[in-house]
């Protein structure tokens, strides 16, 4: 039997209001999920057009997990989202055209062509750019929480990882340090059931990843990662608990990676029935029907939102395509920081 708590689904609009979201917020969540998917779908098109060098990754199936958690974060909270967490960047306010520019290795991408795909972040929005060594971002997030604790600031750090990343020592060390020091930290496991081609039973032997939390001295909770409202409620609870000095929480969002590991991978190793079953639980479709049933989402509103997003995407793709390629003569620029780089408010 699992040790971690299993989160209940969210039912009514009343319950959602109690969790802190009004109708306008709900429509923003819906838009953010659509923009997240929109960016990744158009990324596919750009890739097929040969406009994206290297490889291309998406987080299809993880839109509820990423948008739900990011919606629960406060403006001064920080996080280390990974490659299935585009929804975090969108929710924190990264403009889609900059993401397309990043995909295409252009000068206006957040990394100015120095890194690719979702290896990016806008520090002003409280995000730190991921590395490919995925669980390495957990100790970094814990360090942010440590800084908040040292300075006695009521801020929280959120660190994302997959069930694959949970196997590495970084994950254990980060949870050990956060647990022993009761740091204001929330660990979010995007459990999409496949680490490239490796199934969960070859990644961890416990029933759930969240079960581990007890061993580190904090709470673990498993939530349906296709239910954006349940994810939001659990994330908010954990973030506010951490903010008030209650220590870390490990939230495991269960979903399915609906595509291959990356664009080259057809995911032949995932049983077809598994895809069919989880397709019925598509996070965006689920939330759309919830909004219709519980928050009076009308067909007109839906069309309006769809049009609005289509325009954002078309404009963003065009603006990104107009962005120049980086100047080769800048190849060694910025390897070392200068004292001027520290001339920012939080380094004073």
């Amino acid at each position: 039997m699992a040790i971690a708590r299993e989160a209940e689904p969210v039912g009514s609009l009343k319950e959602v209001r109690e969790a802190g979201l009004d109708r306008e917020d709900l429509l923003t969540v819906y838009r953010n999920m659509l923009v997240t998917r929109g960016v990744e779908e158009r990324g596919h098109i750009l890739y097929r057009q040969g406009k994206i060098p290297g490889s291309f990754y998406t987080g299809r199936g993880n839109e509820a997990g990423s948008v739900g958690v990011a919606t629960a974060m406060g403006p001064n909270d920080v996080g280390t989202p990974l490659h299935r967490d585009m929804g975090v960047h969108i929710t924190r306010g990264v403009e889609p055209w900059r993401i397309f520019a990043q995909y295409m290795g252009r000068a206006d991408g957040p990394t100015k062509g120095r890194d690719g795909n979702v290896h990016m972040a806008d520090g002003r929005l409280g995000l730190i750019a991921m590395v490919s060594h995925l669980p390495a971002m957990l100790p970094v997030a814990v360090g942010c929480a440590l800084a908040f604790r040292i300075r006695e600031e009521k801020r929280v750090a959120v660190g994302w990882f997959g069930e694959g990343a949970s196997a590495r020592g970084d994950c254990h060390e980060a949870m050990t340090l956060a647990g022993t020091r009761r740091l204001p930290m929330v660990f979010v496991c995007d459990n999409n059931q496949w680490a490239y081609s490796t199934p969960t039973h070859l990644e961890y032997a416990s029933e759930t990843v969240a079960d581990r939390a007890q061993a580190y001295g904090f709470e673990g909770v498993v939530v349906d990662g296709t239910d954006v409202l349940a994810v939001y409620r659990e994330a908010r609870r954990a973030i506010e608990k951490a903010r008030e000095g209650g220590g870390p929480t490990l939230i495991e969002c269960l979903t399915l990676r609906m595509e291959g590991h990356a664009v080259h991978d057809d995911a032949f190793y995932v049983p077809k029935e598994m895809f069919e079953e989880w397709a019925k639980r598509d996070p965006i479709e689920r939330f759309r029907s919830w909004l219709k049933d519980n928050a009076d989402l009308t067909d007109e509103e839906e069309d309006e939102i769809a049009l609005e997003i289509k325009k954002i995407m078309n404009d963003a793709m065009k603006r990104a395509d107009d962005s120049p390629l980086p100047d080769p003569s800048t190849v060694t620029e910025g390897v070392y920081a200068t004292p001027e780089d520290l001339d920012t408010p939080h380094h004073k």
Binding site: A129, V131, G143, K348
Partner: protein, 324 residues
């Protein structure tokens, strides 16, 4: 001017910065109540409290990784590796995360990782290594190797002030053995500026860390035979003071590079390559290396002595060069 041991000078530099700048904190194993395995932070927790002198779990990955996060949040972390050898467990966080963050994301990572390094006291394969060349190879990192108490203090303060990740290699064999005058006030020493330890005309001898003293003794011995050695203490290997070395070689026309680290791919190779590329016309002899052999650092005293370059090895090298 007060006289301090090399170890006291490190403590002093750290204390001065912690008093001046409350963003500076120390994290490591046994650094708090115990005062650090070598007592560099003795008394620090009493003065600065448990949240600025943090006893960490035995977890180098979390220690250094968390420093990166805290630094991005505006802190100035100083991590202590109990021994430089254990920095291997934090490799990913220095090389993958901290070193590349400025280039990729525009985010500076001002952290210092103190690494008690070097052998000479039967520490064996895991408590004696000099890993500076591995990190000097990584763009984005800086590597500092002080030899004197005054440099130990000034370079530590500069390392903390620097907006980049800095590995500060403090040689354990110098901790209590080397004492000298150290200015009482706060001062910095630029990273990348070598120091002429002794002036000479016939051979340039380039080294750093504890080998400065081995080199100095060797230079004194050959001086009696009329060989005049110019001894350059690099002080930092990343960045390294290429101009100081080239200028000296142009004067002497012969060079020997000495280091305690192993030979193949050691930092000496980079120095030799640079001299041959940029000062070939000045050379009157092939540039020579005196280094540890390509082996792990052995434990038993006669083996360790055979491993670490000794004064007589340097003397032999200098005589070979002089006779060429």
């Amino acid at each position: 001017m007060p006289v301090m041991s090399y170890l006291q000078a490190i403590s002093d530099g750290l204390r001065v910065e912690m008093r001046r700048d409350k963003r500076v904190y120390v994290i490591g194993q046994d650094v708090g109540v115990y005062g650090g395995a070598f007592k560099v932070t003795q008394g620090f927790q009493d003065e600065f409290g448990p949240w600025r002198v943090i006893d960490a779990p035995l977890a180098e990955t979390a220690i250094v990784g968390s420093c990166t996060g805290a630094a991005i949040m505006g802190m100035r972390p100083v991590a202590e590796m109990q021994f430089a050898d254990f920095v291997s467990c934090a490799w990913d966080h220095l090389v993958t995360v901290a070193a590349k963050q400025r280039y990729r994301a525009g985010t500076p990572v001002p952290i210092v990782v103190r690494c008690p390094s070097g052998g000479g006291f039967s520490g064996g394969p895991f408590h004696s290594q000099n890993p500076e060349s591995s990190f000097a190879h990584i763009p984005g990192l800086k590597v500092v190797c002080p030899a004197t108490p005054a440099d130990a203090k000034g370079l530590l303060i500069s390392s903390i002030e620097d907006p980049n990740p800095v590995l500060y290699m403090e040689h354990k064999h110098l901790y209590r053995r080397i004492k000298d005058e150290v200015p009482e006030e706060r001062y910095t020493i630029p990273l990348g500026e070598a120091r002429i330890h002794r002036e000479g005309d016939d051979i340039t001898l380039v080294t750093w860390g504890a080998m400065v003293y081995t080199a100095d003794e060797a230079a004194t011995q050959v001086e009696a035979e009329g060989i005049s050695v110019e001894l350059i203490d690099l002080r930092t290997v990343a960045p390294w003071d290429k101009q100081a070395v080239l200028k000296s070689v142009e004067k002497t026309s012969k060079a020997l590079v000495l280091h305690e680290d192993t030979r193949t791919g050691g930092f000496g190779a980079e120095i030799v390559a640079t001299i041959t590329e940029e000062a070939f016309e000045s050379l009157d002899a092939p540039v020579k290396r005196v280094t540890a052999p390509d082996a792990p650092v052995p434990f038993s005293p006669p083996l360790e002595k055979a491993f670490i370059p000794q004064v007589e090895d340097v003397v032999a090298g200098l005589k070979d060069l002089a006779a060429y």
